[in-house]
């Protein structure tokens, strides 16, 4: 699956609109993921996952920063996320199905906070982008 020029522009547009709120988007994405897909909590036994958790906020910030980094280097997502890819393969080993779940929740957050932004075309581009990120992060698993 290849990101077209239009896809790349759409994705960049989303992240430039989100701007400084990326951290909040990240935190809400995680909150929704834990609520909707409880099995994802198994990767965070060491976290307080209660409402307003500082750890979830902090982790949401990291996740968002990675998505922003990927969007800013959209011509070479694999290069931009290479270290994160190593980390997921060697240490974190999050099962690949979970990246789709995170992606779904991120889309829900964007839709909820920015319905006008998420036109069908942008929705398609963003979904492709999130898939591409998941593919990169699991690329070195085996």
């Amino acid at each position: 699956m290849v990101l077209s020029g239009a896809d790349k522009n759409n994705v960049k547009g989303v992240f430039s609109k989100i701007g400084g709120q990326a951290e909040d988007y990240g935190a809400e994405t995680l909150e929704r993921m834990f609520a909707t897909y409880p099995q994802t909590k198994t990767y965070f036994p060491h976290f307080d996952l209660g409402k307003g958790s500082a750890q979830v906020k902090g982790h949401g910030k990291k996740v968002a920063a990675a998505l922003v980094e990927a969007a800013n280097n959209i011509d070479d997502i694999a290069g931009a996320l290479s270290k994160l890819s190593d980390l997921h393969a060697q240490k974190l080993r999050v099962d690949p199905v979970n990246f789709k779940l995170l992606g779904q929740c991120f889309l829900v957050v964007v839709a909820s906070r920015n319905p006008q932004l998420l036109t069908p075309e942008v929705h398609a581009s963003l979904d492709k982008f999130l898939c591409a990120v998941g593919t990169v992060l699991t690329a070195k698993y085996r």
């Binding site: 809400e28 909150e31 929704r32 609520a35 909707t36 897909y37 779904q104 929740c105 889309l107 829900v108 957050v109 839709a111 909820s112 906070r113 319905p115 998420l118 069908p120 075309e121 929705h123 398609a124 979904d127």
Partner: protein
């Protein structure tokens, strides 16, 4: 048998009560065809699906979207008995329509995003969790008679 708490039933009915089935159904189906274009394979007789604009404006897409979401309403009225409610539809989708059940999951996810765009902040995490459970259960019921 799926168990629904009082809170979940409340979250389902309160959202559903405010949904415009025709608009929401049309939007969800259009987005399915746009975001996952391979799903167009089931709709060769729908005419022009050549671009997002064409898909959104296509009257057959609108009509079919409304039909699909109306059927969803039946699920909501029969939460305790979904497999029976969808038994015939499940057979139809397997034997006549030959639809991979994965498509039900894709449409369910799209519906959630459409609801989220429509309800904004009111589509809380609990709301999303309940509705993802609902679309998952509907997808499962629709796949149940497959063989």
């Amino acid at each position: 048998m799926v168990h629904w708490s009082a809170e979940e039933k409340q979250l389902i009915s309160s959202v559903w009560g405010k949904v415009n089935v025709e608009e929401c159904g049309a939007e969800a189906l259009a987005r399915l065809l746009i975001v996952y274009p391979w799903t167009q394979r089931f709709f060769d007789n729908f005419g022009n699906l050549s671009s997002p604009t064409a898909i959104i404006g296509n009257p057959k897409v609108r009509a079919h979207g409304k039909k699909v979401l109306t059927s969803f309403g039946d699920a909501i009225k029969n939460l305790e008995n979904l497999k029976a409610t969808y038994s015939k539809l499940s057979e139809l989708h397997c034997d006549k329509l030959h639809v991979d059940p994965e498509n039900f999951r894709l449409l369910g996810d799209i519906l959630i995003i459409v609801l989220s765009a429509h309800f904004g902040k009111d589509f809380t995490p609990s709301c999303q969790a309940t509705w993802q459970k609902l679309v998952g259960v509907v997808a499962h019921a629709l796949a149940h008679k497959y063989h």
